[in-house]
Structure formats: structure tokens, C-alpha cells
């Protein structure tokens, strides 16, 4: 027991009788997750036709740990020839894969899910090192959910007739999939699991800054005995992704990422007749009504915007608070934000980790500067930040107007904009006043109000008295500039089958 700090805090509290003090009495010792149970290779090749190989041109990319700016590994940077080879491998493998008894395909997916669970610790560590997210989230969210997606779709593999009664679902063929850097393994699972369950083969392009868990997943696929060519993983940069989505041998494109790139892809595919699903940006409204459970709403707000450093397309980045509870809520939010533990992502007690890349950090900084310039009031946590790496404090703005850039543009970082409303109608009007429509949240204790609001919110997902909760059985996807198509649930299978009478592609 340390007496001196306690006395100091009591003295301070006497001077200002209503001040809470934190961290002077009991500080947690560092609790880093161990890294001696797995290895990161010096360099990784592309995973094509069941084997790893260098890129044809020999190009490589470094992947960094954003928390330290140290190089973790080099990965091959695939070019057009590599994409071509991967698509050809997927094409060769597809008839046999689709021709397997459906239950057999399900068995492979079950096996992958179980292997992910067995190797969960290694995947969580790798995800945190490569992407900067806290190990607690990688361990408790990313990896378990990725395994859950494989389990879930394993179950569908031999039940597709039930998902589309009378529709005689058939695979599309070879699907090209491009995924983002915010949930590298989870997005790979979202893409690969339904595609395989439906009898398609896959060429997957992971994000430039976070390729390592997808490559580790390739090892799991080999371990599971998945036939060569069924899944091919081509790492690289934007040009690699562009080569994949434009490749004539690809029968369907699925993309998760920015709205700007999504639009480019849609333009490139226009007239080709190829099915496309897009899961793009968002600027979700998180609505708190005056009868909400305020303490829990604050938890939901924190989860909504600071989860994964705010690198979440469905992040609750626009907080709409009923004016009568605004001051109380902002006060509680300020205190709570101050308690967020920012730092070494590998520490098991870290709540918020590093920004994924320097480029993303600069985007966040620019948008936050615009918020201050346009007259919004800035609040940032006073937490200490590490010297090296890419860091941004948990931040929120009050006195934000609809016209501010920080209320309109996706920041994709730990930055919340707080706006107010007076009536439920006004909340709906403001919530829907955005080009996006991916997700929304509502906090109220009144059931009838939940239903009234949910029916009027133009968003693919509406969370009630919670936020950022995911389940493979629940379809996820957007409206308008947030994209189209759904992932997860029965609806998510629709993007990977053609039904009787449909004429796609050629």
C-alpha cells in the first residue's frame, strides 16, 4: 500500500471537493502478450495454386508495425502476371470444388474454423503487430468472429437449397475479392467463407499495410487440406487490386474499402454484367434520447467510435444527442474518454492502439484541423502517447454543425462529432442527412421509440442499446454510398450464387 499518493489525492480532493482522481494509487504493471510462440518470416511470397511463390517481377513491399514503425516482414507485390496466374489456378480448381458433395465443402470450412481457433493466439498477436489494434480486441473480437464466420458458412454449404427455395443455386465461378486493412483476418473470413460454401473459388487481395494474417490463413488452408487453387492470395498495393477486379477471368467482384475506390470499381465493371458487391464507407449516426440509460450509452458511444481506433466503416462517428441530456452526457463522456488506456497494442490492458499507417494518421490530423478551423470545440484525452509509431488521442468535438466537414466526411479514426437534436423527427432528419447509410445506433429505454426510429433510419444495420456488435448470422451492408449487397446471414449468400434463370457475365 502506498500511503503518500493517496494522501496527496485526498488533499487535492479537499481543495476541490468534487474531483475524481485516477491512477495515482494503483497503476497496472505492463502486461504484454508473449511473442515467443510464433515466428514471422523474413519474407512472404504469393499464395497461388496451393504454394507460395515470389512475384513474377520480384517486387516486394515492407509491412510495418504501426506502433513502433519497425519492419515486420516483406511480402511479394503481385503484378498483372501474378493475378493472371492466380485467376487461372482458381479457374482450374473451380469445377472440382463445385463438384464436391456439398457436405464435403462444409467439412473443409469446419476444419478451417477449428484450426483458426487452435491457432487463435498466434493470429491475434500477428493481427495486432501488423495492424496496431489492441491485443484485447484481436483476441476477443477479430479472431473469434473470423472462426465463427467459417463455422457459420460451413453449416450452409449443404443447405443452399433451403436458403433459396426453388432457386437451384449454382456457384458464380471465380470471385475476385479485395479487402481493407482495418480487420484483415476478419474481412478475409467474411469474403472467403461464403464464396467457398457456395462452390466458388477465390482470388483474394489483402490490404497493402496488413498482409500477414491473410498469409497465415493460407498456411491454415494448406493445413486443412484445401485443394490447390481453391483460394489464392495475392498481396500487393492498389495496382494489384485494380488488376484483379479488372481481370476478364473473374466472374464476380467483392470489395470492402473506401467509397472512392468502390466507385472506380463499379465504373470499371460497368457493362460487363459481372455481379459486384461493395461495402464502403460510413458516417453512422448514434442517437441518444433523453430517456436512455446514460452511463451505458456512454459505454456504447466509446465502443462505437474508439473500437479499433475508429478504423471501422460502421463506426458511430456522429453522435446525435437530445439537447436536454447533452451537457450531462458530454460530461460523462469526457470523464470516460479520459479513462481509455492508449498505448502498446500488445499490452493486454490497452484499450486503444496505434493508427494503422502514417497516411491514415495524416488524413485524421487534417480533418481534425478542419473541425477546429470551422469552429467546433475540441476535446482530447490527456493520455500520454508513445514516442515512436502512429498515434492519435481519443478525440471528440462538441458544437458541431451538419455543415462541418467533420460531420459529413468519414474520418476513419478515433474522432467523434457531437451534434444535438430536439425531437425524434429532427434526429431522423439529421441521421439520414448524409450520403452514407451503413449503420446507426439508438439509445432509448422505450421500445416503441426504438421501432419508430429503426423503421426510418436509412442504414443497413441499426443497433439498439448497443453498438459495433457482429454476428455471422446477421446480414451486414449499406445503403447509397455505403455500397450494396450483404455479408453474413442468408442474405450474404446471395452475392455468391446464381439462381435458376439468371444469365450473368457472358
Amino acid at each position: 500500500m502506498t500511503d503518500a499518493p493517496k494522501l496527496a489525492s485526498e488533499r487535492a480532493a479537499q481543495a476541490d471537493p468534487r474531483t475524481l482522481r485516477f491512477g495515482e494509487t494503483w497503476a497496472y504493471a505492463a502486461a504484454p502478450e508473449g511473442t515467443d510462440h510464433f515466428e514471422i518470416a523474413e519474407r512472404y511470397g504469393l499464395f497461388i495454386d496451393g504454394a507460395f511463390a515470389d512475384a513474377a517481377q520480384g517486387a516486394t513491399l515492407d509491412t510495418l508495425n504501426p506502433a513502433s514503425e519497425e519492419r515486420l516482414s516483406s511480402v511479394a507485390c503481385g503484378g498483372e502476371a501474378d493475378v493472371d496466374r492466380a485467376v487461372a489456378a482458381a479457374r482450374r480448381a473451380q469445377p472440382a470444388w463445385a463438384g464436391l458433395p456439398a457436405a464435403e465443402r462444409g467439412r473443409f470450412l469446419f476444419r478451417i474454423a477449428r484450426l483458426l481457433q487452435e491457432r487463435a493466439r498466434e493470429f491475434a498477436c500477428l493481427e495486432t503487430l501488423d495492424g496496431g489494434k489492441p491485443i484485447r480486441e484481436a483476441r476477443d473480437v477479430d479472431v473469434p468472429l473470423a472462426a465463427a464466420h467459417f463455422f457459420y458458412h460451413a453449416g450452409w454449404a449443404d443447405k443452399l437449397e433451403l436458403a433459396f427455395p426453388g432457386g437451384r443455386p449454382q456457384p458464380l465461378g471465380v470471385v475476385g475479392q479485395v479487402i481493407p486493412w482495418n480487420f484483415p483476418l476478419l474481412m478475409a473470413a467474411w469474403k472467403i467463407a461464403p464464396a467457398l460454401a457456395c462452390g466458388n473459388t477465390v482470388v483474394l487481395k489483402p490490404a497493402e499495410t496488413t498482409p500477414l494474417t491473410a498469409l497465415r490463413l493460407a498456411e491454415v488452408l494448406v493445413q486443412a487440406g484445401l485443394p490447390a487453387g481453391v483460394v489464392n492470395i495475392v498481396t500487393g498495393d492498389g495496382t494489384t487490386g485494380a488488376a484483379l477486379v479488372r481481370h476478364p477471368g473473374v466472374d464476380k467482384v467483392a470489395f470492402t474499402g473506401s467509397t472512392a475506390v468502390g466507385k472506380e470499381i463499379q465504373r470499371a465493371l460497368a457493362g460487363s454484367g459481372k455481379p459486384l458487391t461493395l461495402e464502403l464507407g460510413g458516417k453512422a449516426a448514434h442517437i441518444v434520447l433523453d430517456d436512455a440509460s446514460i452511463d451505458q450509452a456512454v459505454e456504447g458511444i466509446v465502443r462505437g467510435i474508439f473500437f479499433n481506433q475508429g478504423h471501422v466503416c460502421c463506426a458511430g462517428s456522429r453522435l446525435l444527442v437530445q439537447e436536454s441530456v447533452h451537457d450531462l452526457l458530454v460530461e460523462k463522456l469526457r470523464r470516460r474518454v479520459e479513462r481509455i488506456r492508449v498505448g502498446n497494442p500488445m499490452d493486454k490492458n490497452t484499450d486503444m492502439g496505434a493508427i494503422n499507417s502514417r497516411a491514415q494518421l495524416e488524413r485524421i490530423e487534417a480533418l481534425v484541423a478542419s473541425g477546429t478551423d470551422q469552429g467546433a470545440k475540441l476535446y482530447q484525452s490527456s493520455c500520454a502517447l508513445p514516442d515512436r509509431g502512429y498515434w492519435f488521442r481519443p478525440t471528440f468535438f462538441t458544437e458541431v454543425s451538419q455543415s462541418h466537414r467533420i460531420a459529413q466526411e468519414e474520418i476513419f479514426g478515433p474522432v467523434l462529432s457531437v451534434l444535438t437534436f430536439r425531437t425524434p423527427d429532427e434526429a431522423i432528419e439529421k441521421a439520414n442527412n448524409t450520403p452514407y447509410g451503413l449503420s446507426a445506433g439508438v439509445w432509448t429505454d422505450k421500445g416503441s421509440r426504438i421501432l419508430w426510429l429503426a423503421a426510418r433510419l436509412r442504414a443497413g444495420v441499426v443497433w439498439n442499446n448497443t453498438f459495433n456488435r457482429f454476428d455471422p448470422g446477421s446480414p451486414f451492408g449499406g445503403f447509397r454510398e455505403s455500397g450494396f449487397g450483404r455479408e453474413g446471414g442468408r442474405q450474404g449468400l446471395r452475392g455468391y450464387v446464381q439462381l435458376d434463370g439468371e444469365l450473368l457475365g457472358a
Partner: protein
């Protein structure tokens, strides 16, 4: 209270069960290692109300427990004494005699513990006698029957009168959350107890399941924190019943540390009501020193 309390004062904001439980689970996943673990274990020892509340309690048993309270680990001077020894009213004098001048307080349950289904005049008399016999802390039970009947004013008045009967003694108000069941009811009961002058909010008698749970204690801490910010008065929280392992104790301390902060991280403001917890704390402390677990038989049972 300067202004009279009215029924509208007993209205409280709603509690969302799912989100409250999620927050408690998140805090329960904190990893407490090395020095912070040692410090946490020592704090937990100092915050323990070593308790015996059985029909077969005898003077001998209570004396033995008092000695354990004074010197939890005789061969380890860095281990502090516990906060209090908690007994039935008729054994207060025995405990007071053994603990006199030691810094370990005598706490007594009173008010017809654990059901509380007795006449108010008897509850008041029981409280006065326990205090007169040397109890520095009184653990009362609220009238759950009146609470469920919606007689919040009656619950409030009774706490106020017991508080008066306590005189200088500190009053811990047992809500018996296992009988209130919903978080909304628990928050309302907290509010009533805070307004009525409780020095501590306490979860349970230990005679009803579930006793103390992490979400319940998180909610109580939030109530105590908000009440402090509203009035400047610091009210403690006591988690009682069902806490048997050092691991659980550390999790409760994490709740305190991250919800209320430094002001509550002291035996004056946070307590564990437990009988078997103490030895697990001692065993974990010993393991930190030696790297190995010792047999439970190596620690005195009382």
C-alpha cells in the same frame, strides 16, 4: 439533507442490462501482473471485513477470527490487518474486547439480519445495543418487502432512523440485490440509501443467491460516484458474499480503480465482505514471493 426528500427524488435513470454487463466483463478481462498484483492483493486484505455469521458462532470462534484479522499472516509483517471483523450483535462485546485499540473495527449486522422482517423499534434497539457493545460499524438490511410494495418513503425513513441510532458508528446499508433482481431496482435502492445517509452501500447478506456480482458492484460504484459529484459526500461500497478468490477480488478492485478512482481505493471506501477470500489472498501473495503454490493447510483457517 437540507431540503426535504420527496418521492420524485427516488426516481433514477434507467440501466441497460446488456451494456452494463458488457462493461463489467470488459473490466474483468484486465490483466493484473507483478507489482500491481502484489499491491492489489495487499489492498484487498486491508479492505476485508472478515465475517462469521452462523448460528453456531461462539465466543471462541469469534476470538480466533479476531486474531486472524489482526495478523492474517504472522510471519509476513508487510501483510496488513483486515478492515473489520463482522459478527452477529450478541458477539460484538467479545470481538470488541479482542480488537480494542488495534485499528481493526468491529462491525455488526443488525436490524433483524438477514430478513429484516421484524418491528422497527426492535431494529433500532438492536442497533443501539450493538453500538453500545462496541460496534463501530453497523450493517443493516433494507426492508425489501416495503421496497417491492413501492413504499420507498418507508424504506428511506427506516434507513434514516437506523442511521440516527448508529450515532458515531458507520452505517452500511445492505440492499440484498439478489432479492431486488433488476438493475433498475438496485439503482433505485442505491439512491434511497444514499439520500437517507448511508455511509456504505453493500450488496448482500451472503444468505441469498446471487450475492455480489461484478455488474451489480459496477452499478453501485457508478451511483456512489455520481452522488459524490452531485453532493461532495463520499459513500463507500461493500461487495459481500460469493467472493472467494484473489482473482475475483482483483477484478472488483479494477472496477473501483476505473470507475471511482483513487478516493475509493482505501478500506475507508471499499470493502469485501468475505470469510474464505482472505486465505486465497494470502496464498497468492505467497506464490508471488516463492513462485509456487502452498497447500491450503499451510494457512490458518481462522
Amino acid at each position: 439533507m437540507s431540503s426535504p426528500v420527496t418521492p420524485s427524488d427516488f426516481r433514477v435513470p434507467p440501466v441497460d442490462q446488456v451494456a452494463l454487463e458488457a462493461r463489467a466483463a470488459e473490466l474483468a478481462s484486465r490483466s493484473i501482473k507483478k507489482d500491481s498484483k502484489r499491491q492489489g492483493l495487499l489492498m484487498a486484505v486491508a479492505m476485508t471485513d472478515l465475517t462469521t455469521l452462523e448460528g453456531k458462532d461462539s465466543p471462541g470462534k469469534v476470538r480466533a477470527l479476531c486474531h486472524k484479522a489482526l495478523h492474517p499472516q504472522p510471519d509476513a509483517p508487510e501483510v496488513p490487518h483486515v478492515a473489520a471483523v463482522c459478527v452477529y450483535p450478541d458477539l460484538v462485546a467479545v470481538a470488541a474486547e479482542t480488537l480494542r485499540g488495534s485499528g481493526v473495527a468491529v462491525a455488526s449486522v443488525a436490524t433483524g439480519f438477514p430478513a429484516g422482517r421484524t418491528d422497527l423499534s426492535l431494529k433500532l434497539e438492536e442497533t443501539r445495543r450493538a453500538v453500545a457493545a462496541g460496534a463501530a460499524e453497523i450493517d443493516m438490511v433494507i426492508d425489501r418487502g416495503a421496497f417491492h410494495a413501492g413504499q420507498f418513503g418507508q424504506v428511506f425513513d427506516e434507513i434514516g432512523q437506523i442511521k440516527e441510532a448508529c450515532g458515531e458508528a458507520h452505517l452500511k446499508v445492505i440492499l440484498e440485490t439478489g432479492e431486488l433482481r433488476t438493475f433498475d431496482a438496485i439503482r433505485r435502492a442505491c439512491r434511497i440509501a444514499l439520500l437517507a445517509g448511508a455511509d456504505f452501500l453493500k450488496t448482500s447478506t451472503g444468505k441469498v443467491a446471487p450475492a455480489s456480482t461484478m455488474p451489480v458492484v459496477l452499478l453501485m460504484l457508478e451511483c456512489a460516484r455520481d452522488y459524490y459529484l452531485e453532493t461532495g459526500r463520499v459513500v463507500g461500497v461493500k461487495a459481500a458474499g460469493g467472493i472467494r478468490t484473489a482473482k475475483d477480488a482483483l477484478r472488483y478492485l479494477v472496477l473501483v480503480n476505473e470507475t471511482c478512482g483513487d478516493l475509493w481505493l482505501t478500506p475507508e471506501r471499499f470493502r469485501f465482505g468475505a470469510s474464505t477470500l482472505l486465505n486465497d489472498l494470502l496464498m497468492q501473495l505467497r506464490r508471488l514471493d516463492t513462485g509456487t503454490y502452498q497447500r491450503p493447510e499451510d494457512f490458518s483457517k481462522d
